[in-house]
Structure formats: structure tokens, C-alpha cells
Amino acid sequence: MILEQLEVTPDELERQTGWVLKPEGLCKDDRCVPLPTGSAADGLVDVTAVAERLGMPLVHDDRHDLWALGPEAGDRVLASAELPPIVLADVEGQAFDLGSLRGEKVLIAAWASW
């Protein structure tokens, strides 16, 4: 996720990464990771602490003062077989939620013009 500052609301963090802030820490599926004391206060979460605890890379562009928080490094890209939430746009800019296809078998085919 792209960040202008190293603090984020729990809602935004959940929307972008799927990790939910709970009293016991950050949780996703059946996994919870405690955060250091004080790293979630006043309605904001300290992104540096999140990155460190979850093994997420945090990279910076000096000139534009922007960060990108990457996915958690670990064993496999898929932590479960459930298709993660994916919303993409068509050429008209209309958003399409792949989750809306429940009830059908779906083949997702990635291609490119190049």
C-alpha cells in the first residue's frame, strides 16, 4: 500500500492488507501477531511497527517522500486457498469485484499487450 506518512487508520490498514486490529494485536484468518505497546493509539497504527512484526518490506521514495508497504514475506504467496479480495477496473474504469462471481467456476487469465 502507498503511504504519505507512517501512520494509518486501522480501517485503511484492513482494507489494503487484510490485517485487522484487535485487542490482541493484528489478526488475519486464524493468526494474530501482537504489536509493541503504544504502536496503536489515538486511532492510528504505527506502520513501521506493523512492517517489522509482520515481516513486510517498507520502501521509500526520497524525492516524493512516499512509502510503499509490501506483502508479508514468508513461505508461500498463498497463505490459504481462498481467493483473496481482488477488485480491478475494466477499460472504462468500472470496478469489478472478483468475489461477485461466487456460485460459478472461474478461470482468471492474465495476459498483456506487450
Binding site: 518490506p57 521514495d61 482468471i108 492474465a110 498483456a112 499487450s113
Partner: protein, 237 residues
């Protein structure tokens, strides 16, 4: 181009409950637009300008597909799906090119011809089998097999995703030069990701993705270094 083949398969298998969604891994929507508009497809055709599918699903090249069942469970993780029956051995360089470009393209075609052939007929049979038999199909994997069959995400691969995200964000904001530094970093961190590389090369060397002042690699040098037999991570279905 595989889009018409996906449309044919959709026409055949949609009555049996299969939907197809094509996703263009193009940085620029306009690069994909004419292909999409000409395809005449009646399934969703999306464009992933940020390469979310690379990060979320571990896609590193195209064409790549995955299968998802009625409950939203992946039953076949990302795999090469070159459904277009294309005879690369008949590829020729266009007439009338300058000598150096002609030699470069000749060299590219030699590499393309060494990419192992994908058995599209077998693939389509496997797809039909899954659509008909669902979880009972031998081609539908268990959740454990899907997780284990997905790509590995080392710290370098995770960092490459972050670098590419920053790069594409800056690119779309008009900061083309700043974007290149992050694309270069993504290339260095995950050299096996051809979508990161080819998108960036295409912007500075359209068509042949040749050497440039902006990137260390180019299509021809990189496929020679990797070996054309490794161009697709999973050539066998």
C-alpha cells in the same frame, strides 16, 4: 493473442457454469484497450495497472491462469496457460528491417523457438474435465496442494512487490524518471518476474524490449541468461 481463444472457451463452457475473467497486466490501460475492444468477449475483461495479481497471487509472467471454484476457493494455483495454438517455428523477421534490428529480432526469434511447447490441447481437456467434474476432477487440487503449489515469497520477492507498487504509483502520477529507479529495484530483487521487467522495457523500447540507458537488462539478454527453457516457471500442467 489469446483473447479470442478465451472467448471461444467461454462460449463453450459458460452453459456448464464456467466464467472467464481476463486480466491485462499492462501499466497503461490504453495499451490493452484495442485488444480488449476487438476481442468481442462477453465475460469481464479487466486491467491490472498496479500488478496486484503479482503481489496477491504470485504471477510472474503471462499467459498465466488460475482456477477458482464456486465457493471462491482456488483449486489450481497460477500456472502457464498458453492456450493459443501458435507455431513459433514458423516465425520470421519482417522484410526490410535495418541490418542491426534484423539481427536482433532474428536472435529473439531463436530464443522464442527454444521455449518449450505448451500442450494447449491437453490443457483444454483438463479444463473441460474440471468444469464437468468439479472437485472430483483429477485436475482440481486440495487446499493444501494449492498453497504448496503457489509461488514462494522470500523477503526479496516481497520487497520487489513494494518497489513495483511505488514505481507504478509514481509512473501514473507522471513521475516517469522517479518510477524507473523503483522498477530497476524490483527487477534486481525478483529477476524471475517477467511482468515487472517487460512492462518497464516496453515503455522505453516498444516492440523489441531491447537494451536501453534506463535498465540493466533487456528481453534478449535476460532470456539468454535465464535460459529459454525456464521462461515459463511451470511449463507442464
Amino acid at each position: 493473442m489469446a483473447l479470442p481463444v478465451w472467448q471461444q472457451l467461454r462460449t463453450e463452457l459458460h452453459p456448464q457454469g464456467l466464467e472467464i475473467v481476463t486480466v491485462a497486466l499492462d501499466l497503461e490501460v490504453d495499451a490493452a484497450r484495442s485488444w480488449i475492444e476487438r476481442s468481442g468477449a462477453d465475460h469481464p475483461q479487466l486491467v491490472d495497472t498496479a500488478h496486484r495479481l503479482d503481489e496477491l497471487l504470485g504471477i510472474v509472467n503471462v499467459p498465466t491462469a488460475l482456477w477458482v471454484d464456486e465457493n471462491g476457493m482456488i483449486v489450481r494455483p497460477p500456472h502457464t496457460a498458453a492456450v493459443e495454438r501458435y507455431d513459433f517455428s514458423k516465425l520470421k523477421t519482417p522484410e526490410g528491417l535495418p541490418d542491426d534490428l534484423d539481427a536482433h529480432i532474428r536472435d529473439m526469434l531463436e530464443q522464442v523457438k527454444r521455449i518449450p511447447r505448451f500442450d494447449a490441447d491437453h490443457y483444454v481437456e483438463a479444463l473441460r474435465d474440471w468444469v464437468e467434474h468439479g472437485a472430483a476432477s483429477e485436475y482440481a487440487l486440495t487446499p493444501e496442494e494449492v498453497v504448496q503449489g503457489s509461488a514462494s515469497r522470500s523477503p526479496e520477492v516481497a520487497e520487489a512487490a513494494a518497489e513495483f507498487e511505488l514505481g507504478q504509483h509514481l509512473h501514473h502520477a507522471g513521475h516517469v524518471e522517479s518510477a524507473r529507479a523503483h522498477f530497476r529495484a524490483a527487477h534486481r530483487l525478483q529477476p524471475e518476474n517477467w511482468t515487472y521487467k517487460r512492462n518497464a522495457w516496453e515503455l522505453v523500447s516498444p516492440g523489441i524490449q531491447g537494451p536501453s540507458d534506463f535498465y540493466d537488462g533487456d528481453w534478449l539478454s535476460d532470456i539468454k541468461a535465464a535460459g529459454p527453457e525456464h521462461y515459463y516457471a511451470r511449463p507442464d500442467f
